[in-house]
Structure formats: C-alpha cells, structure tokens
C-alpha cells in the first residue's frame, strides 16, 4: 500500500497529537490524507526526511476516521529526531508491512497477553480487538512487566481495560514508594492467570530474553507450539523482503513476520 510505482516512496502524514507515556516514550497520533488500512501486529516504516526510516508497530486498532497511533521509545538517532517533532509537523509513513497477529486462533479460547516494556505497543490493538469482540474470545489476561512504575505505558487506559473485563496484572523490576503491585519478572505471574494454559492462546512481545523465557515456560505448561505467538524485532531497511537486513535463520522478519509462532522459530536462534 504505497502510493504509485516506487515501493520506497512514503505517504505524508501529519502529527495531530503527541501524548507522553512515561519516561522516553510518547504516543504519536498521525493523520494521513487517505486512511491506511492495517491489522494488529503490522508495522510501518516511519521516517523524518534527512534523518532516516525506522520500523514502528501500529499501536491502534484500525478505524476509517481514526489517525494511526504509534508508540515510540527514544532509542537512537531517528527515534530521537521523531521525539523532537511537534504537533503539526510532518511524519512520513510507508506500509503497513508484515503479517499481523492471528486472531482466529483465540476464538472461543482464553487469551494470555504477555508484554514487557515497550512491547506493550503492538499488543495494545490486540487488547482493543478483544474488547471490541468479546464474544470471539474467552477470558483475557494481560501480564505486563516494566522496569519501574514510571515506564508503564498506557497506564491511564488500563483502568478502562479492567472495567471492560480484561484482567490486568502489572509487575515492575524496581518499585518506588507508591508502588503496591508485584515486583519481579513477568514470568513469575503465571499462577495468577486463572485460565487453563493448555487450552489458551498466548501473545508475547518484549525484550528477547523475556520472549524466550515466556515461550519456553508456556510450552512446558502444555500450551501447543502453534498457539504461543510472538512478534520479533530486527534491524530493518526495506521492510518489503528485498534487503536481507532482518534475517533470522532462513526467514525475513519483515515479510515472513514479524509475528511468528513458537513452532516456526523454536529451532532458530533469535535474532
């Protein structure tokens, strides 16, 4: 879905609003002239002219009159430049790319969503999807771990998620004085999930060590390999399967992924 013949030509977007989400992370609401149709788990190549392009997941659920929402962490040159922009400034988008989360496999099943840090970004539209289609999914539990309470993104929305039936379990690596919740790894919360893990579906995103640990443990609990779903990260330059930068074993994360099941990647070293 790029405009015209050149696949590298981005479309022009305009930043409508920037909402800070804890330390180093902001939500960018970007409006394009034509709505861009996308599904949870897909990503855009987002760019600032002169600075460069970076892959960023969609963090909103598609709506015809809705702006694209991108949750971006300050991580280096391009993301730092994006953070220096203001509402009204242009941001260029190319995409959406990638396969997206398989939603049908959680039909009539409980879903366990496991997020670490900024890994919440691609999982937020999934939560929104489950809230929109409660009849299509069983009980939904979100396990979310962040470094400190300050690093929790979409914290203000989580009350609403709880009210709408999502069980939200938060944990932090380091607590502050006000924190009353769990402290420790997100994988320490399995016993709080009141779903039969053998029958449920898991969607995982976060740092590589966390993904590996969560996938391995869920598999040991008896969850079938094809229902343990994750989304992977790699260096990307083209986003369309041409440049090879995002290779992971025989696969390209940009076109074969970024969403994979444990079955597809267990034999490949990530990244």
């Amino acid at each position: 879905m790029t405009n015209g013949k050149n696949i590298y030509l981005p479309v022009n977007g305009k930043i409508e609003e920037i909402i800070p989400q804890g330390r180093d992370v902001s939500l960018f609401r970007v409006r394009t002239q034509m709505p861009l149709n996308y599904v949870p788990g897909q990503f855009f190549m987002v760019s600032v002219w002169g600075a460069g392009e970076v892959p960023i997941s969609v963090t909103s659920l598609f709506g015809a009159d809705k702006a694209v929402e991108l949750c971006i962490r300050r991580a280096g040159f391009v993301t730092e430049t994006i953070h220096s922009l203001k509402a009204g400034d242009p941001l260029w988008l190319r995409g959406p790319y990638g396969n997206g989360f398989p939603l049908e496999i959680s039909k009539n099943r409980d879903a366990v969503v496991v997020a670490g840090g900024i890994g919440m970004a691609p999982l937020r539209p999934l939560i929104e999807w489950f809230m929109k289609k409660p009849e299509d999914v069983g009980r939904v539990t979100l396990l979310y771990g962040a470094k400190t309470p300050e690093d929790i993104v979409f914290r203000d929305e989580m009350e609403d998620w709880k009210e709408r039936g999502i069980k939200v379990l938060l944990t932090v690596d380091r607590a502050d004085e006000c924190w009353k919740g769990h402290v420790g790894l997100v994988t320490g919360l399995w016993q709080e999930v009141h779903s039969d893990l053998k029958k449920a579906t898991a969607y995982i995103c976060g740092p590589e060590v966390m993904i590996k640990a969560a996938m391995g443990e869920l598999f040991l609990f008896g969850m079938p390999e094809e229902r343990i779903i994750t989304t992977l990260e790699a260096h990307m330059k083209c986003g369309v399967g041409k440049c090879g930068h995002c290779y992971t074993g025989p696969r390209y994360i940009c076109t074969d992924g970024p969403v994979f099941s444990y079955r597809e990647i267990k034999d490949i070293s990530i990244p």
């Binding site: 002219w49 460069g52 260096h235 090879g244 074969d256």
Partner: protein, 103 residues
Amino acid sequence: MNAAAVFMTVTDRTYPDGIERIRLWDTCLFKGFTRMAGGILPNEKRMLRTRRWYYHKLIHYPEVLNEFGCVGCGRCAITCPGKIDMATIATEIKGLAINGEEE
C-alpha cells in the same frame, strides 16, 4: 516468498540544497548489517557472518526458493586468500576436501 536479496540499505543524505533518500550497496558480511537500536550487534563475531553466507547460499535459498543462492561462478574461489570459498567449504562439508584429493 522472499525475492532474491538485493543487499542494499536505505539512507538519507542532506545537502545544502535538499535531501535525498537513496539506496546503497551493503553486505551481510559487515558487522553493522544487523545493528539494532542502542548499538546491539547480533552478528558481531566474524564466524557468525561467514556462517550466514554458507547457510544463506546453500541451505536457506533452497529451503525458501528451491534454488541455490550460489550460481557457481567461482569468483570467490579465485579471490579468496584463505580457502574458505563456497566450493571448498561445500565439498569439505561433504567429506570430499578438494585440497586433500589434489595432494
């Protein structure tokens, strides 16, 4: 599936009179090829990148595209000073080291 990997990188260049976004040649044998945010280099070890070359040409391409990625032109064999070119390695793996046979 994936098209053949035309290894290139997309980058922006700023000039006094404007900006251009261009493609440049790149290769998976450079350690920066897979560089991630914050300077993480998943394939920093030269061995990993060399292994990627053999795997990509001889195993991954056939798996994904049903064709070898190596066309057998022999240019790496002529150029390589260390005898780790594609044919030597492939035959060695097959247990038929060319060097051994010649001696």
